[in-house]
């Protein structure tokens, strides 16, 4: 279990941004877009074989050329007066049949990432993921922020378009962040390292969809660019977001017209179209449950066929 470095950049007071796949690929799309726009070069990786299964073997003319694993790579870039580290993981380490990281391997991965953060003088770590909530896909998503330290609350409150758990109706300050996004926050807290998770809102009826949700990634990136004090052209996310939204509309329209979902479920979803972000939710928990029963089933059956259009 090791980290392989190609170079040893001299960084100080750095900030680390971490992204990996999750609901709507919101976190990884936000962080990887930022990395791409800042042209941050790769400088190391976590060796994958202790965490992941190989995905592909390449055998050419009888010679075993390569075995490909999901990557877990580190990048860095200087942005104005800040050294910025990135960690991009193509997969979360899971055990047995869990979807998100948990267990020993996830804990080891979180520690390896934070080892790197500390080695390169990192003072704060940001993770990013999805906040599943009662909004419509045409509404601008907000960002839910969860710091691992009370001292960060006031700062987080000043972030644009961002809310704390206590500001969300019916949550009672509580919630759960699954997978590495949550675990990293916890392990960082254990080490005395500041960390914040920024979660872009995604409509709950899309949480099982195979598509990315760029609109939420953009909301997250808008917060991050303010943190970094930079202005970046996020057109790439706008364009992708428009294509995804068009696909969602077409998908829902197909469901409505073929009556693949009952009219009352359609009405519940459409109620949200004319509502601001959940304050409080225009539909009940019971209604939400009913919608999810239908929509998740439909994505399992054939929603994946829409993936190719993206």
């Amino acid at each position: 279990m090791a980290i392989r470095l190609y170079q040893e950049p001299e960084l100080e007071n750095s900030i680390m941004f971490c992204g990996w796949p999750g609901i709507g690929s919101i976190g990884i799309l936000a962080i990887d877009t930022l990395r791409g726009l800042l042209r941050a070069p790769e400088f190391g990786q976590i060796e994958p074989w202790d965490f992941f299964e190989p995905q592909k073997v390449v055998i050419e003319k009888g010679l075993l050329k390569d075995l490909e694993f999901p990557s877990s790579k580190f990048y860095f870039q200087r942005v104005k007066d800040k050294d910025v580290l990135f960690f991009i993981g193509q997969q979360q380490p899971t055990e047995e049949r869990t979807r998100y990281a948990q267990g020993q391997k996830a804990y080891q991965m979180a520690n390896l990432v934070l080892d790197m953060a500390e080695r390169f003088g990192c003072r704060r770590v940001y993770t990013s993921g999805a906040a599943v909530t009662q909004i419509h896909h045409t509404v601008k998503p907000r960002v839910w922020a969860v710091p691992n330290n009370q001292n960060l609350v006031e700062e987080v409150k000043r972030y644009q378009n961002t809310i704390l758990m206590s500001q969300i109706e019916g949550r009672g300050d509580q919630g759960v962040i699954t997978g590495l996004n949550g675990l990293l926050l916890g392990v960082a807290k254990k080490r005395g390292l500041e960390a914040v998770c920024l979660m872009g809102e995604i409509p709950y009826y899309l949480q099982a969809a195979p598509w990315p949700y760029p609109k939420a990634s953009k909301s997250v990136l808008e917060v991050i660019t303010k943190i970094l004090g930079v202005e970046l052209d996020l057109t790439i996310l706008d364009e992708l977001g428009q294509r995804v939204e068009q696909n969602i509309e077409e998908f829902l329209e197909t469901l409505y017209s073929t009556e693949a979902i009952p009219p009352e479920v359609r009405d519940e979803i459409e109620k949200l179209r004319y509502t601001e972000s959940m304050q409080p939710g225009p539909i009940t928990e019971e209604e939400q449950k009913k919608i999810m029963e239908h929509i998740d089933e439909l994505f399992d059956q054939g929603g994946g066929t829409f993936e190719k259009h993206l």
């Binding site: 074989w49 202790d50 299964e53 190989p54 995905q55 592909k56 073997v57 390449v58 055998i59 050419e60 003319k61 009888g62 010679l63 075993l64 075995l67 055990e95 047995e96």
Partner: protein
């Protein structure tokens, strides 16, 4: 870190070759090759991999009425050496594919091979399902983990494999061996699809013949020849009794393909006929 190995004895080795097979294999090729070698060259177990870290041990699976249990056994041979060969020049491993911690399992095999047995080369033996007829000659598709080993072993009986996709456990092992500097080769012997769930003695013999030549084992193939003849006779009888089956196999013999329905009918008929003897 706790050891994953349990040694029953500790033999000495002289740069042996390692042959690896997996217990679930098309035409039972891997297990039967290892079993034949074990029987013919008087080998015995010297080490096992403890299953607890690698398999779900929540009960046992049952196959063909028999309770199964995952295994990972190393054998060494203690042959007579009239031609002056050194002792213990062959190590064999037969194992179940691990359900978890596959890298650690394969790394363990290579570690033991390299540091304890000091193997000089590794071969994995596997069956690969093919649309050939059982009367057609089988090919061995070969994969090497270094170009040098490929040059050393290439011969007209082997065909270089091309493949991009999910890796088989043997390819994963070959890759782990390469990282450790162990030269390795996977032998993928063609198995007619309708013998995949039975035993393909012809493919077993072809694989053993390669190993026999490479490792100078001086194997006696009489028993296998008898099994091949018996199996061919049985299938010939089935063809005689069932004109549809005869037509299907005849089509395969001339290089034609069968529909999915025909393939399933052929698999069912041959498996049942061979099973009832």
């Amino acid at each position: 870190m706790k050891s994953i190995f349990k040694f029953s004895h500790e033999p000495k080795f002289e740069n042996p070759s390692l042959i690896v097979g997996w217990d679930r294999d098309a035409g039972q090729l891997g297990p039967k090759v290892i079993e034949y070698l074990n029987r013919k060259i008087n080998s015995r177990i010297f080490c096992e991999i403890e299953p607890v870290d690698f398999f779900s041990l929540a009960g046992v699976t049952i196959e063909k009425n028999i309770a199964q249990f995952p295994e990972g056994k190393f054998y060494c041979c203690e042959r007579g050496f009239p031609q002056g060969r050194v002792p213990n020049d062959l190590v064999m491993f037969i194992g179940s594919e691990p359900g978890f911690e596959r890298y650690r399992f394969l790394d363990g095999i290579c570690d033991l091979a390299q540091h304890y047995c000091r193997v000089k080369e590794l071969f994995t033996v596997n069956g690969t399902i093919s649309s050939i007829a059982h009367t057609n000659p089988r090919k061995i598709l070969a994969v090497y983990n270094t170009g040098e080993f490929q040059k050393e072993l290439q011969n007209p009986g082997l065909e270089d494999m091309n493949w991009q996709g999910p890796p088989a456990i043997s390819s994963y092992l070959l890759w782990v061996a390469k990282r450790k500097g162990i030269a390795g080769m996977s032998l993928w012997t063609q198995i007619p699809f309708y013998l995949a769930s039975s035993k393909d003695f012809q493919a077993i013999k072809l694989t053993l013949s390669f190993l026999d030549r490479r490792l100078n084992l001086e194997l006696d193939f009489k028993e296998l020849d008898e099994q091949i003849a018996e199996q061919n006779t049985k299938i010939a009888r089935l063809r005689h009794e069932d004109s549809e089956i005869n037509r299907y196999i005849g089509a395969l013999e001339t290089g034609l393909s069968l529909s999915e329905e025909e393939q399933l009918a052929l698999i069912k008929a041959v498996s049942e006929f061979l099973e009832k003897g």
